[in-house]
Structure formats: structure tokens, C-alpha cells
């Protein structure tokens, strides 16, 4: 059964929203065309999860007004703890409202741009025009990418010019505290030639329930010899239908590293793809997941190699409890001509209850002879011998299980570069697996 509801949003709605943000005509047209495409395009087909009956199109309201923050002291407590005091490079969005932005004078002087997506669309039309939904994600791929482009109502733009090395991480926080808000957020991160940057975003719901949609797209462009580390912790409330697509394009000698902590309580379809276009490019993707309740989730991680001598690493660790279910698709694809490419992946799922379901599907698609590739996958319970070992030192069963689970999810926690975010992820894990 396919829910082909006609969208409730009309072309006129899109045009007037675009006008309210003073968007250039080109961008308005992009939205209008995408809306038309969304009417006819099919949903994506995440392998092994049937989503045709999921609601991706109906939501209470397209955009909401929320308060801005004139200083960090006004932040809600649970958000305050995410931010290090000395954090200078920070963007905060409150539901759909750009609410706080700061960037160090030094980085401003070097030409770094950190701004909400609307400002970027208006004031940096050349850069946005060059990168927005061009090489990483295209609006006309399927219904959800088209809807995203048509309804984009938030997000952030980060640009790092040639040869600029941003030492401190750039932090972005999306606060959700309006049950009726929907998040069509777009993060566009561009690292120009030989630049380096670490970007860490957090999605945090401070209300227990959501009625809206989350249709989130991130695009990361690493130009030649650039390095981008992209950390994300998603903690969106139950009730959202979440589609999140994070993609990167890695050019020659560049490197994109992902560290994704997927802690939503909502049903979630997640795609994380890295295109290793350039020779010697590296894509390293680490994802950890905790599923609980009756959550249904699908995590598809892809690394696609075109570049010679490109290296792709996929690590996915999922913990499933209650009657939650999740599919973990890992795809390493080596295109013809990508000689000496290396595609490795590891997917492991830990089940904490008999009703939980987890499915790890490692897939290698190789169209070139001179390559190396490997995969490992496992689905199982906490190893009784590990528990015996820990307990034989006096550690209680509960604490032993906790140690094993935290250890299992450590690969992402330990690489997040912002202490507050690291701590929050640890706490969320603690709360979810308890």
C-alpha cells in the first residue's frame, strides 16, 4: 500500500515562505520545482525496511516562531551543558528559528563563514549555488529529498576557505521544544582546498513527544586535500518520523570522518554515504545506535569508491532492547577503475531482550580487480564469558553489562571532540539502555 497523499503544501505556500526569507529567485524556483517533483517521485527504498505506510508527508505546520537567545545563559539547562564555556564557534537553532550564532574574530578574518542557512542563501548565493544539492544529494532523487528542498525551513552553512585550519571544533545545536515543529534542516559544510575543520551537531528534543516530521539533509564537501570531521548526536523525541541523510563528497587526497551517535526515540530512516571521488581520498564512518521501545529504524551506510587508492571504513555498533528493531545495511562499493581501493566494514548488533530485532547486512559490490575489501558482522547477546570475567572481579552483573555496552558504543563517544557532547551522549546511552 502506498500513501500517495497529495501534499497539503501548495506552490503558493512555498513561494510565500521563500519570499518571507527574501530568497533569490533561483532558490525559489528550486523549491517550486522540487515541490512538483515531490508529488510524483516515489519514496526511497531502504533495503529490508518497508516504509510505504510511514508518514513522511503530513505535518501540523511548516514553520514556527521560537525565541532567540541573546546570551548562552538563556539556554535551557540540558542545552547549556552541551556547550563548553570557551566555545566561540557556535550556531544554535531553536525549532525553526536561528537563535544564536558566534564565530571567533580570528576565523571571521580568515574568511570562515558560519551562519544560518537562510542568511547563506541570501548573502552567499555563489557558494550555496555551487554546492547546495548538487554533488552530494540531489533534490530529484526521491520524494523525501524533493520534499526537503521544497520545504527547507532551517539549517546551517559552514564554509572554510583554502588553507584555513580551524583548530577548535565548530558546534551546532538544534533544539526541539515545540511539539508541532517540523525540521527540514539542511547542513552544508564546505571545506575548500587544503583546509581542515571539525563540525559537531546535536539534535536535542527537550519535550517528550513530537507531532512533526524530521527531514534532515547534510552535505559535506571536502575539496582537494581537505579534512572534515563530522560528529553528530541525534536525540529526537518519539513521535517524529525521521528521515536523515548525511552525505559527503571527498575529492583528491581529502578525508571525511563521521562519528554519528543515533539516539533518536523516533522511527528513523538514516542514510550516511561517502563518495570517495578523488584519488587517495579517505572515508571513515562510525555509527552507534541504541533502539528501545517499539522503535523501527534503518541505518544504511555506504562508501562508494571512484578514486584510486581510496580507503573506506565503516563501523556500526547497535544495541537493541525492548521490542525495538533495526536494520543495519553496510555497503562498500568499488567502481571500475578505483584500483588499489580498500573497503572495510564491521557491523555488530547487541540484543538486550528476546523481543528486540537487529539485522546486520554487510554488502560489498566490487567492479575492479585490483582492490582489497573485508567485512565482519555479528548479531548476538552480551557474551556470558565477558560477564563472568568482569563479575569474577567483584563487579555486579548490572554494572558488568553496563561496562560491556558502553564499551561497545565507545567508538563514537571517544572521538567526539567536544566534552559536553561526549558527556551528553554517554548519559543518553546510560538512560536508554537502563
Amino acid at each position: 500500500m502506498t500513501v500517495e497523499t497529495n501534499l497539503k503544501v501548495t506552490e503558493q505556500d512555498v513561494r510565500s515562505f521563500s519570499a518571507s526569507k527574501s530568497e533569490p529567485e533561483e532558490f525559489t524556483n528550486l523549491r517550486v520545482q522540487a515541490l512538483a517533483a515531490a508529488e510524483v517521485l516515489p519514496l526511497p527504498k531502504p533495503d529490508k525496511t518497508k516504509i510505504t505506510s510511514w508518514n513522511f508527508t503530513e505535518f501540523p505546520v511548516h514553520s514556527t516562531e521560537s525565541s532567540t537567545y541573546s546570551s548562552l545563559t538563556e539556554l535551557p539547562e540540558e542545552v547549556k551543558s552541551l556547550v563548553d564555556l570557551e566555545q566561540k564557534n557556535l550556531y544554535i537553532q531553536h525549532n525553526n528559528t536561528p537563535a544564536y550564532a558566534s564565530l571567533s574574530e580570528d576565523l571571521k578574518a580568515k574568511g570562515v563563514i558560519l551562519t544560518d542557512i537562510f542568511t547563506a542563501i541570501r548573502d552567499h548565493a555563489d557558494l550555496v549555488g555551487k554546492y547546495f544539492m548538487k554533488d552530494a544529494v540531489k533534490a530529484e532523487e526521491h520524494k523525501l529529498t524533493a520534499l526537503h528542498a521544497a520545504l527547507l525551513n532551517g539549517g546551517v552553512f559552514l564554509y572554510v576557505p583554502k588553507n584555513v585550519v580551524v583548530e577548535e571544533p565548530v558546534q551546532v545545536i538544534f533544539i526541539h521544544d515545540d511539539e508541532n515543529a517540523s525540521l527540514f534542516n539542511h547542513a552544508l559544510v564546505v571545506a575548500d582546498t587544503s583546509s581542515q575543520v571539525t563540525y559537531v551537531e546535536t539534535y536535542i528534543s527537550t519535550v517528550p513527544h513530537a507531532n512533526g516530521l524530521a527531514n534532515i539533509v547534510s552535505e559535506v564537501i571536502a575539496e582537494d586535500n581537505a579534512q572534515v570531521t563530522y560528529g553528530a548526536v541525534d536525540v529526537l523525541a518519539e513521535g517524529f518520523t525521521t528521515y536523515v541523510n548525511r552525505r559527503g563528497v571527498a575529492k583528491r587526497d581529502s578525508r571525511i570522518e563521521w562519528a554519528l551517535g543515533m539516539m533518536n526515540d523516533s522511527d528513523t530512516i538514516s542514510e550516511n554515504t561517502t563518495f570517495l571521488i578523488g584519488d587517495n581520498s579517505v572515508g571513515d564512518t562510525k555509527t552507534v545506535v541504541v533502539g528501545r521501545g517499539s522503535q523501527k529504524q534503518n541505518f544504511t551506510t555506504k562508501v562508494i569508491h571512484w578514486g584510486k587508492n581510496s580507503d573506506g571504513q565503516i563501523l556500526k555498533h547497535g544495541v537493541m532492547k525492548d521490542s525495538a528493531s533495526a536494520i543495519f545495511n553496510g555497503i562498500g562499493k568499488i567502481e571500475h577503475g578505483a584500483t588499489k581501493a580498500n573497503a572495510e566494514q564491521e557491523s555488530r548488533v547487541l540484543m538486550l531482550s528476546p523481543k528486540a530485532r537487529g539485522d546486520a547486512n554487510p554488502i560489498l559490490l566490487i567492479d575492479e580487480d585490483d582492490v582489497t575489501a573485508g567485512h565482519a558482522a555479528s548479531v548476538g547477546r552480551v557474551d556470558p564469558l565477558q560477564l563472568f570475567y568482569l563479575m569474577s572481579r567483584g563487579i555486579s552483573k548490572q554494572e558488568a553489562e553496563r561496562l560491556v555496552i558502553h564499551g561497545f558504543l565507545a567508538p563514537v563517544v571517544r572521538v567526539l571532540p567536544i566534552e559536553g557532547v561526549k558527556k551528553q551522549l554517554t548519559e543518553v546511552i546510560e538512560r536508554k539502555v537502563r
Binding site: 563472568f388 570475567y389 569474577s392 552483573k397 558502553h406
Partner: protein, 259 residues
């Protein structure tokens, strides 16, 4: 003084009976060594005392100062004072050696009485030095990627940090070169004292050149068949086990064979 008493212990794995009535009494202040060829039930005894999930005790008793050990969960046994140095320690990814050891120490302490980080680090550093272990091993994940020798040293490090009343060391010497063996023995010897008892399980007399046992026992066919002093170990080293088999009329010493 504390006493660990093993009485007529019968243990099976799946449906096979491995231990067929083991009797042994260990007091603090004593070092006992259990020797014996492969397949005679030595490691089963060690694992069963600690409560390994694969082994089932079918009859007999293990008591620690009169308390029924077999009624206790594995962690309770440990907190009551038992320690098992394992032949094949588990690898646990994502949990650092240091964090693990601190959790183990704090599991024995009341809330609010946890060991201070400074004191813990000082103690860890000095024990690691004794065992000739690289300091960076404290921050590595528990046993992950450790060589055989590193795992054995790490077991002894835990022993020294946790300071149990009774340690059972299951083939702690296998696979160690002579330098590592000396270092591991030095660690165990540092533990010796009035409030510490030890049961060392080994194939080889070599370890006993560095650690002097007060009592030596020989296991065959799932029982302790001979006990003696240090001299027994020396005789075994010189003459092997055949004289015991002859003396007791045993043809095949492994479990499953009857005298």
C-alpha cells in the same frame, strides 16, 4: 586466618562429569600448587570454584570461612575474597584497563568510600612497574590485542590491585618466557603473607622454582590423588607422573577413566 574448604566436589560440563569428588583445604598464609597432566580436571576445579557459567556443580561443597560459596553469584564470590587468574581472559572492547580495575576496586567499597583517583593511579603505576608493564597498557582496552604474556601479566596486575583473600591462578605460567615468568612470580610473591592464600594450577614445575609452595597436590581422573610438600613437585619434575600411576594402579590419568 581464613579458610577455603572444598569438600567432595563433583562438577559436570554439559553431560560429562569432570570432577569426581575433590577435597582440598587452603588456609591463608599457604601456597598450594595443583599439578597434573592435561585433561585431569585442574582448570575445571578453578572455574567451578569461581562459578563459571558452563560448569555445573552436582554435589559437594565449597565454603569460605563457613559461608557457602556455591550459593553466591560470581560477583559475590569475588567480593567475599576469591579471585581467579584466568587461563584465557576475555577481551572487552571500549573499556580501558584502568577504568575496569577502578570499578573492580570500588565494587568492594561502600558508596562514598571509593578509592581516590590519585591513590589509584599511584598504586597502579607502582604495580605495573613491578610487573614490567608499559604504562600505556592502563589506557588500552581490557585485554584487547594483548599478547599472551601481556594478558597473564594483566591478570597478576589485577590480583595485586584487588588484593583478594584467596587467589586461584589457572596456568598463569603457560606461554610465558623465562623473564616474564620471573616477573609474574615476583608479583605473586609480593602478595604472600598471613592474610593471603593461593592455589596455583600448573603443568610445569618450572614456576615452582620461583614460587615456593607449602603444599603440592596431583590431580588425576577428576580427583586429588596425591598430596605432599615441595619435594613432591621436585620428584614430579625429575620422574614424571608414571610412578604415581603405577603406585595407584592408574592406566589413563584423564577424566573419564576409572582406576
Amino acid at each position: 586466618m581464613s579458610t577455603l574448604v572444598i569438600k567432595d566436589l563433583h562438577v559436570k560440563i554439559e553431560d560429562k562429569e569432570i570432577l569426581k569428588g575433590v577435597n582440598l583445604t587452603i588456609n591463608t598464609g599457604e601456597i598450594h600448587a595443583i599439578m597434573g597432566p592435561n585433561g585431569t580436571g585442574k582448570s575445571t576445579l578453578a572455574s567451578a570454584i569461581m562459578g563459571h557459567p558452563k560448569y555445573e556443580v552436582t554435589s559437594g561443597s565449597v565454603t569460605l570461612d563457613g559461608e557457602d560459596v556455591l550459593e553466591m553469584e560470581v560477583d559475590e564470590r569475588a567480593r567475599a575474597g576469591l579471585f581467579l587468574g584466568m587461563q584465557y581472559p576475555s577481551e572487552i572492547s571500549g573499556v580501558t584497563n584502568a577504568d575496569f580495575m577502578r570499578s573492580a576496586i570500588n565494587a568492594r567499597r561502600e558508596e562514598g568510600e571509593e578509592i581516590s583517583l590519585m591513590k589509584f593511579i599511584r598504586e597502579l603505576d607502582s604495580k605495573m612497574e613491578t610487573l614490567d608493564m608499559d604504562q600505556e597498557m592502563a589506557q588500552r582496552y581490557l585485554n584487547e590485542g594483548f599478547s599472551g604474556g601481556e594478558k597473564k601479566r594483566n591478570e597478576i596486575l589485577q590480583l595485586m590491585m584487588i588484593k583478594p583473600t584467596f587467589a586461584i591462578l589457572d596456568e598463569i605460567d603457560s606461554g610465558l618466557d623465562i623473564d616474564a615468568l620471573k616477573v609474574v612470580s615476583e608479583g605473586i610473591n609480593q602478595m604472600k603473607g598471613e592474610s593471603f592464600g593461593c592455589l596455583i594450577i600448573t603443568h610445569y614445575q618450572r614456576l615452582l622454582n620461583y614460587i615456593t609452595p607449602d603444599h603440592v597436590h596431583v590431580m588425576m581422573q577428576g580427583r586429588v590423588v596425591k598430596s605432599g610438600g615441595k619435594d613432591l613437585a621436585l620428584k614430579l619434575e625429575a620422574e614424571g607422573y608414571d610412578w604415581i600411576k603405577t603406585e595407584l594402579g592408574i592406566e589413563d590419568e584423564t577424566v573419564g577413566q576409572e582406576a
